[in-house]
């Protein structure tokens, strides 16, 4: 885990309102695993005060990429960064996805910005010799970021591209018609989508890992701001930042779904 000022290499709008920011950090690019995140201080000063957590989207040689939707003051500032600007990063943080193990087929399900950890995940899965199918959903076709992914199946809420409906419904339909044995699901997205994925995985007894979001101030287990309810365990809550953000779907309860 490191804290560093790093130099922005590039910021690019890859879909409507969705940006990929790359920065230079050999330390991070060499050590970050799929599903891990970094905490970004977008500028010095008190506005905004806190770091923002972002899944690592992709690493390539000495650069690290994050992807984000412009939704608030932090992401507005990030989207306006130029090559050479400095941001401060803390990371890599959290428990990565389990990309090893005996499964042969990886089913990646992403809703909206849940696409964030998928390219780095796909890269590691590929290296481990896994077959990959990607299901990506968005509100509309122009909000899809599908770079660096293969075997993609698309769902949109408005039907403007691909399947008209939820990405989970699409995945269920596809997998019913094209069953994959020895599979494992990796999902990231809104809480309701994750709950649907979790229920589906349980119904077909496919192991499933979810990547969660949580309101967090520190990212390193200190502020205790990001609890998620455990299904069972010695304590009621796990922390998304240090015990997640990736969880086996059978170990947690998704509230607000």
């Amino acid at each position: 885990m490191i804290i560093r000022d790093v130099e922005v290499r590039n910021v690019q709008e890859v879909a409507r309102g969705i940006f990929v920011l790359s920065f230079v950090s050999l330390e991070l690019s060499g050590s970050t695993l799929p599903g891990q995140f970094i905490n970004v201080l977008v500028q010095k000063g008190h506005e905004p005060l806190l770091r923002r957590p972002f899944s690592v989207y992709r690493v390539e040689e000495e650069t690290v990429e994050i992807i984000f939707n412009v939704v608030g003051k932090g992401t507005v500032l990030l989207a306006a960064k130029k090559r050479g600007d400095i941001i401060n990063i803390l990371g890599p943080l959290g428990i990565p996805f389990g990309t090893g193990g005996s499964f042969r087929n990886a089913i990646l399900i992403a809703g909206g910005l849940g696409i964030a950890p998928m390219p780095i995940l796909a890269e590691h899965l590929r290296k481990n010799g896994k077959h990959i199918e990607v299901f990506a959903g968005a509100r509309s076709g122009d909000q899809l970021a599908l770079d660096h992914l293969e075997n993609t199946h698309i769902a949109t809420d408005d039907g403007s591209r691909g399947y008209h409906g939820t990405v989970v419904a699409l995945a269920e339909q596809y997998l019913r018609e094209h069953p994959l044995s020895e599979a494992k699901i990796f999902a990231c997205g809104p809480i309701r989508m994750l709950a649907a994925v979790s229920a589906y995985a349980e119904s077909v007894t496919i192991p499933c890992e979810l990547s969660l979001e949580g309101e967090m101030a520190c990212g390193i287990g200190i502020c205790q701001g990001c609890p998620v309810e455990r299904l069972d365990g010695a304590t009621r809550y796990a922390l998304v930042c240090t015990e997640g953000p990736t969880f086996d779907s059978t170990t947690i309860i998704l509230r607000g779904a």
């Binding site: 005060l49 806190l50 309101e215 967090m216 101030a217 701001g225 609890p227």
Partner: protein
């Protein structure tokens, strides 16, 4: 350059500590922070039994600040002794254990158990906890109860006893007087300020408990005023807390009367903040040709008769 200070029988190497709840149990940041450069670590609040804490969402960012309602989630004093204290003992800094409880007896039980352990240099008492017996009202807003907790705990320890005062009272100075008379060695000023944040679109409060504790730079002016008031009311040392992010902030607290400071919310953004504050204070004092950082304490150039505090005290 003298940077340290003595509280009761304990020497601190400098006047910068990290505040309770913002530095965990000290082990989370072991890769990031050289804690030997801190005056001390105040641990997360400990209660007798582990506490799960409040449901999410527990935190919300606010202008130059953050609102939290963690609910004193902690591992409990027994797990602390077993799992956290051995590591804390290896650190070359002072360890102040913060205690939270829901009854006077629980405060006493936790402190008594900790008193029997090696490696703890003092206690800070969080009185901003719901008093179960009084229907959940905070101990810290009742002056008599705050004094009672202090005197009961004073009887149990010869180590520094610090009472962390809440700003959510009319006259914080009266609370400082009461705990001093009850035997406190020092006060920490301030705990978080009650606040609220609302999402206009969803019409929901941004944290699950509706209201919570505001911290960060947003509360620094409040904290300075409270430290000033307490410094005018008592002569025991004050740990100034509230929105400190750099050495200049900390020096402001020393000037208005704090003997030391605690860095809180800034640790969430960078856990090394306390170290840079300590280094910054030292170089400020050197630039001012002071022989002792303590020479700054309480040297605010203010006309006391011009202070609005006069009408309060």
């Amino acid at each position: 350059m003298k940077t340290g200070f003595v509280l009761r029988n304990v020497e601190f190497k400098n006047r910068v500590l990290v505040a309770s709840g913002t530095f965990g149990y000290g082990d989370e940041t072991r890769d990031l922070v050289d804690v030997a450069k801190l005056g001390g670590i105040v641990t997360k609040s400990l209660s007798w039994k582990p506490r799960d804490g409040n449901p999410p969402p527990r935190i919300a960012e606010t202008p130059s600040g953050m609102l939290n309602s963690i609910g004193l989630a902690n591992i409990g004093v027994h797990a602390f002794i077993e799992k956290k204290l051995p590591y804390l003992r290896t650190l070359d800094t002072r360890i102040i254990v913060n205690i939270a409880a829901s009854s006077v007896q629980e405060y006493c039980d936790v402190l008594a158990l900790l008193e029997s352990q090696n490696g703890i240099h003092g206690f800070e008492i969080n009185v901003s906890c719901p008093n179960v017996k009084e229907g959940g009202l905070s101990f810290g807003t009742n002056c008599d109860l705050t004094a009672e907790i202090t005197s009961r705990l004073r009887a149990l320890t010869d180590k520094p006893l610090i009472i962390k005062l809440t700003p959510n009272v009319t006259h914080i100075g009266q609370f400082a007087v009461a705990v001093k008379e009850a035997g406190a060695d020092a006060v920490s000023v301030i705990n978080t300020v009650i606040g609220m944040a609302v999402n206009a679109k969803t019409r929901k409060p941004k944290i699950s408990t509706v209201t919570g504790g505001l911290s960060g730079p947003a509360i620094k002016p409040i904290a300075l005023a409270k430290v000033y008031e307490v410094a005018q009311s008592v002569d025991i040392p004050i740990f100034g807390i509230g929105g400190i992010t750099n050495a200049e902030d900390a020096i402001e607290f020393l000037l208005v009367g704090a003997s030391a400071v605690q860095v809180g919310t800034a640790n969430f953004i960078d856990p090394r903040t306390g170290v840079s504050v300590a280094e910054g204070i030292e170089s400020f004092a050197r630039d001012q040709a002071l022989g002792d950082v303590g020479d700054l304490v309480g040297t605010l150039k203010a006309k006391k008769d011009m202070s609005v505090l006069q009408s309060w005290l």
